[in-house]
Symmetry: C2
Subunit: 474 residues, 2 copies
């Protein structure tokens, strides 16, 4: 495709993109398709000859678009948000055009140095002390695996990577600790890093679904007594099911005493640390050895962009550095090569969109959006609390409201089933999208206010839809 | 930023992007910056208030662009290529705008199903049998780690993930095998997966830098005799240093006998399998348990897009599946949830750009580009072979030519140093970018023909530049 053809097609796309950003709220937020519906519209074999771009774009609108779930719909109340924004899209357009692979400083100095500065901007925005340095990872799952691998190497003095875990763990197996409410990516990382799921201690939680420090203390003590080494504790600020906040300060103190690595998973909630009045919710975070939060969730930056901070970059390098001859450069002693800060050798230029987002909104602009979402969540929580047919199932700390319909005279199991039906009913109009979880074994509806374009009217209408559905079901 | 402001700025960007694609060849391929030059042009603190996009874009051109290495420059002969293309950029524009996070079928059915079909298109294009199924990973490093983790779980019947490697490896440690010329990502993955670098057997290579099957046989036998279990053999088609081709057929037979997983790393060269007359170079590939190749290298698709194929998806799922309550859906029994096919939970919609690239060029169009690059590399190799001042250091199989200046009457060490100076001299004009490696311990210059826009004239001028530099240095 000649650059002038690209120019012509790209201008057409830009008008579609601007219309999409303007009109996404008028589309159904979820697609009305069944498994296989998209697949059967795409030829089974690749074309031998070129096709005109007009036909591709037509197929995009005809085949792909009706099969998309619209994460940027103002009626998005599902999972956690995955925001994009106009400045972030503009950044991605330039990143795609440059097509740089930013594994080393030398393979794009601007990408490396802008990433260093952007991570320091984020550090300051979150109120982290200067000792923390950051790197962009793709996702929190990867960042958590990176943390657990670093902790494994620290606990074994590098023997796990060198001699293998079979040898390094022979004298004393390594254990990992996280609350029962911690994210499944921690289970997955414990498995992948070779600790073994049997050595992940799921620590019990309190009434607000936060880790009980005294239960952690007992678990650490029991393991030490059994000759098992505590390698890492993963604490969460803002759990996925209920945005519970593990008490970082006492956990950090226990980590210090046990010599365990403290990794803080603030994948969703971390963005809220940029709001001064919400920062007390992160009390103790400065004691973390590592910390992950996702600007691609609540900080208006396109997926993927996960911010990973560490206090000791030497521990990262000891785990991930590899310098084959063909990658050696004259600059290696003077620069950061981010390929050595994680699993992947190849890296996209992701700092650019972050630069555009932070400067376009300004820190105050980003704070205003998070404040608005948190205020709306609290308002919704008040409506739920006032309605005797419902119960709030967890404290509202950020943008998530966990609630449950409680019709009288039913067993808990019946109520579970009714709430599952209620959720289906609410989602059936495809004007909004809510999801569920289980808390204390019970089926709970989650409504997260966090989409960039979500305003009070959307939250209000969602609550009305819930109450109307209850009227029909009850 | 209002959608109409986005529209206005995005149109301006598109004109810049089209100009960049047209004119990138007139820019210096490498930036003339020293460490810290970019960083000191970016404010140390984030702005509190919004800035107009015009200023951001101006800073992009003033600060970022002069600090970029231009991977899409026709004078790119470094590392391996990292191509983009106009249709791929158009795809990335739409992916960024949709901003979908495609972890599960339900979070964007079209993304999942298009990925299934695109991976099957690639499978057919490479001539792989129908038994292989594929998934898009971000990089070959990740894919190789995924393979080594799957092999670990298969070798231990799932005990490594469940009970931990300390327990699972206690009876018999697990070993991994790859040639001395295998990529550093294999060393890294062996370390991260917990095998331990000491249990990676670097198998000796022949004169063409390919793994010697008889040496592999000896290593497997020695380990078995010592009570060590062979878990995985990584064979490479197209090594990074010299594009050597490990003999897959005898390696596969040994894997079969030893019960070891066979992972094939064709990160760069895999794209050449779409050319029928080059397919014999991949003889035996159908016996692989897993296979990675990067469309983001030589198949005109923006980084990142790494194609990972497996014969037994159940082994992948056994290693990576995790389904917390909040991710359960009514469709799970009937669909593929690609989050369970790798490390990351979150996933970008990367199949879209692949769809655009394959349809825009057609399979024949893509073949024509690879054929052109391979023909140019062979022509360059002939020029090198004819010049008595140079030697070809490795056979030319794909687009890479490895050569070495051989002035008479010098020691090998002196020749190493002279070739390093020669490389600096050739790169100094910043009209082209070549890199180096070591083969058989000796410093070697690598020139890879693989950039989309690279034509005969660019290769010719590069060779002239090498000869002129030799004239100056000699």
């Amino acid at each position: 495709m000649h650059p002038d053809e690209f120019r012509r097609h790209a201008h057409v796309l830009v008008d579609w993109m601007a219309d999409y950003l303007r009109d996404v709220g008028s589309l159904p937020v979820t697609p009305g398709v069944a498994p296989g519906d998209i697949r059967r519209q795409v030829p089974e074999e690749p074309p031998l000859d070129p096709e005109p771009f007009e036909r591709l774009f037509e197929d995009f609108r005809r085949v792909v678009l009706p099969g998309m779930t619209h994460w940027n719909h103002p009626g998005w109340f599902a999972y956690f948000p995955g925001n994009n924004s106009a400045p972030s899209i503009l950044g991605e357009m330039l990143t795609a055009t440059l097509g740089a692979q930013c594994m080393s400083w030398v393979t794009s100095p601007a990408a490396t140095e802008l990433e260093q500065v952007m991570m320091d901007w984020l550090r300051q925005m979150m109120g982290l002390p200067p000792g923390f340095v950051g790197v962009i990872q793709d996702t929190a799952s990867t960042a958590t695996l990176v943390a657990l691998l670093s902790a494994r190497e620290r606990a074994t003095g590098g023997r796990a990577g060198a001699a293998g875990l079979a040898a390094a763990g022979a004298e004393a197996p390594l254990a990992v600790y996280a609350s029962r409410e911690a994210h499944s990516s921690i289970d997955k990382a414990v498995k992948l890093a070779g600790y073994g799921l049997d050595l992940l201690r799921h620590i019990e939680t309190d009434d607000a679904f936060a880790l009980r420090p005294e239960a952690l203390a007992r678990a650490l003590e029991a393991d030490r007594a059994a000759g098992i080494r505590p390698a890492c504790v993963v604490a969460t600020v803002g759990t996925t099911s209920s945005t519970a906040i593990d008490p970082l300060r006492p956990i950090a103190e226990q980590c210090r005493r046990a010599g365990a690595w403290l990794h803080v998973d603030a994948a969703y909630a971390g963005a809220a640390a940029i709001v001064p009045e919400l920062r007390p919710l992160f009390d103790g975070i400065e004691a973390a050895d590592s910390l992950v939060f996702n600007p691609h969730k609540w900080l208006l930056t396109n997926f993927d962009c996960s911010a990973y901070f560490v206090r000791d970059p030497a521990a990262l390098l000891a785990t991930f550095q590899a310098t084959p001859e063909y990658l050696r450069t004259a600059y290696d002693a003077d620069v950061v090569n981010f390929r050595d800060w994680g699993i992947q050798l190849g890296r996209r230029f992701r700092a650019l969109k972050l630069w555009f987002v932070i400067r376009s909104y300004g820190v105050e602009g980003l704070r205003a959006i998070i404040r608005r979402h948190v205020a709306l969540a609290r308002e919704l929580a008040a409506w739920v609390a006032e309605d005797p047919a419902f119960e709030l199932v967890a404290p509202v700390r950020f943008g998530l409201v966990c609630f449950r319909w409680r019709p009288a005279g039913r067993t808990e199991e019946e109520i579970d089933a009714l709430n599952a039906r209620l959720l289906m009913e609410v989602n059936a109009t495809r004007e909004r999208y809510l999801t569920h979880t289980r808390l204390g074994g019970r089926y709970v509806i989650r409504l997260v206010v966090g989409q960039r374009a979500t305003e009070r009217e959307h939250v209000q209408r969602a609550w009305e839809a819930v109450r109307l559905a209850v009227g029909r079901l009850g």
